[in-house]
Amino acid sequence: MLKIKNLNVSTESNISILKNLNIDVKKGEVHAIMGPNGSGKSTMASVIAGDPKYVIKKGDINFLNKNLIDLDPNERAALGLFLSFQYPVEIPGISLNNFIKTALNQKQKALNLKPLSAKHILEKIKKNAEILKIDLDFIKRSVNVGFSGGEKKRAEIFQMLMLQPRLSILDETDSGLDIDALKIVAKGVNTLRNNESSFIIITHYQRLLDYIKPDFVHVLNDGKIIKSGGPEIAKMLEEKGYDWI
């Protein structure tokens, strides 16, 4: 599904961040990415989603057999890519409700499909709000404005459930969550998990992986993957820290 080959990425001021990164995510797989601060985890997530502030020097990102590098962020989203932001952006004046409706219908348009009916969207909103224990009044508020840390992350997962992406990248969605919120977020992810959809989960903690069982765990350091394996790696890291590698 997602194949990243020899990816080299720099900032606009030419600081090299990702160095020959390779990763291969197949249909239905869950990959966890761990690694110390500043190792390039968030950059990797942003680059896959198409953040224009990074410069791709070399390499390929293939998603569902399409080269993503020349596609706009919205085109990538239309293909079924979703990024749950580490720091969701506050957008005063646009309600979460309006935002999600626009996003859904823009996606329909990009896929040459008819716009969804208001009734259909509302039903979907209600269903997903219930899964995430979100109050419907919450959806009327401006996107992320005045949301608590937990609410922001829950809103991200809510958007993910609404958009039903093929590949979701969760960038430290568990950071700052209490144990109940963590369970709710995990429930959201597990709802979407099936043979067709895949996940990349960026996290610092083994705890989240207790609720979302990964198929693979990778350790990213200094812009490249230095170790890959099964869930046991996360457990070892939790016990021994990154020095162990």
């Binding site: 198409g50 224009p52 502030k53 919205n74 979703f82 969701p88 952006v89 957008i91 004046g93 996003a103």
Partner: protein, 429 residues
């Protein structure tokens, strides 16, 4: 031009070869007009509108020009500054009369000295706005060129659920210089909601020099919505002078969407205690449009509150200026006055000048001002696009979100819907 010559003060030489109207235009050396050079927008050859060019056909056209989806009740029409009773529906509690001008009338404002009523006597004229009037002779020109002005008196029991719609139609043949002057008297305890629009029935590139004077008596409340959406590439110079007595409240809300030049002079004097005044503006400019908001709220006594909030989006090669003054007179203690001006520059070719001015001569006050000028937030743009929203649509959403603040706060649903649709249409255009 008939009947005009003899009412002029001798100091204005209309016989001279140059176009005398131009003599009344402020120069950019005048601080109040620094960022708007009228001579750049208004042709040298500008000539005056002849009075009373009304006929039934024009009235029909005027009536049809108004979006008829809105209720037909409570609509009053003016054509070339003349009240059209035939097609108007005057609500109960509103009286429309004409002040009789004397031959040698030289009043700049008709507001009387105490700010309690209107008259044409020069020695009983309100002098609160003198500083501005002296620098802006256009107001004087308006007084010379308007016939006897109309006074709209709202009686004490006046309370409007449905907004009063005022339509200023102009026949405007051959790009004339058009005038209008209305005097609003809000009697004690009246509650007035007005929605005002200008309709150009004539050719492109006209100039509308409009003056509104308000006297708001004790406990009165005014909500005044001005929609500037002229598609005929005209210039609009809109001046509002308002004197407020104690416990009165005003809300001037200006929405500027289309027009070659839009200049809003809004001057409010709080002369009684416990007054409130909001002067608000929302604008979306593109092409070569120019907007200049010139606002002054003067706290002449203590215990009053005022707020200025202006939000503008500049696209294309549009330009603009915001000059907002808060004046707090010596002894006007316990004043609360705020000012905020936010500008969103969508295009690199657009420009804006912002000039907040605070003149505070009292020590027990809360006053603040803030100004921002910025481009579209790249982070927000990426966030929206990452959800599948195209760049164009995402920018539109962010513009709408930026401008929505003052629209969503409108209590009257009819006006709110009209404005949100207008902005949406203009944003997507």
């Amino acid at each position: 031009m008939t009947g005009f010559k003899k009412t002029l003060k001798p100091s204005f030489n209309i016989e001279k070869e140059s176009n005398f109207i131009l003599d009344f235009f402020p120069s950019i050396k005048n601080e109040d007009w620094k960022y708007t050079n009228l001579k750049k927008f208004i042709p040298d050859s500008i000539s005056m509108q002849p009075f009373k060019a009304n006929n039934d056909n024009l009235l029909k056209k005027l009536k049809n020009s108004v979006n008829n989806k809105l209720t037909e009740k409570n609509v009053i029409y003016f054509l070339d500054g003349v009240f059209q009773s035939k097609i108007s529906d005057v609500p109960h509690g509103l009286k429309i009369t004409q002040l009789v001008k004397s031959e040698n009338n030289v009043a700049k404002l008709y507001l009387n000295q105490a700010g309690l009523n209107f008259n044409t006597k020069e020695n009983d004229s309100y002098f609160g706005f003198l500083n501005f009037l002296e620098k802006t002779k256009l107001i004087e020109l308006n007084a010379y060129l308007t016939d006897s002005p109309y006074q709209l008196t709202f009686n004490s029991s006046f309370s409007s659920e449905i907004p009063l719609k005022i339509i200023h139609g102009f026949s405007n043949k051959n790009a004339f210089f058009n005038q209008s002057r209305l005097l609003f008297l809000l009697e004690k305890n009246s509650t007035v909601l007005i929605h005002e629009e200008v309709v150009n029935l004539g050719e492109l590139g006209a100039v509308f020099n409009m003056v509104s004077e308000f006297s708001c008596l004790e406990n009165s409340s005014l909500e005044f919505y001005t929609i500037q959406n002229d598609l005929t590439k005209s210039c609009l110079i809109n001046s509002v002078f308002c004197a407020q007595q104690k416990n009165s409240s005003t809300n001037f809300n200006v929405f500027s969407l289309n027009g070659k030049l839009m200049r809003n002079n809004i001057l409010v004097d709080l002369i009684g205690e416990r007054c409130k005044s909001n002067v608000l503006g929302t604008s979306l400019l593109k092409g070569a449009e120019h907007l200049d908001n010139f606002i002054t709220i003067s706290h002449l006594v203590g215990n009053c509150k005022s707020n200025q909030l202006f939000k503008s989006v500049y696209d294309g090669a549009s330009s603009g200026s915001f000059c907002g003054k808060i004046f707090v007179k010596k002894g006007a203690q316990q004043t609360e006055a705020f000012q905020q001006n936010n500008n969103l520059m969508v295009s690199t070719k657009s420009n804006v000048n912002a000039k907040p001015q605070l003149e505070i001569f009292a020590d027990d006050v809360v006053c603040s001002h803030g100004c921002t000028i910025g481009a579209i937030d790249e982070k927000a743009l990426f966030y929206l696009r990452s959800r599948g929203i195209t760049e164009k649509e995402a920018i539109n959403l962010l513009i709408t979100a930026f401008l929505n603040e003052l629209i969503t706060n409108i209590e009257n649903n009819e006006i709110k819907m009209k404005l949100s649709n207008l902005f949406l249409k203009n944003n997507n255009a």
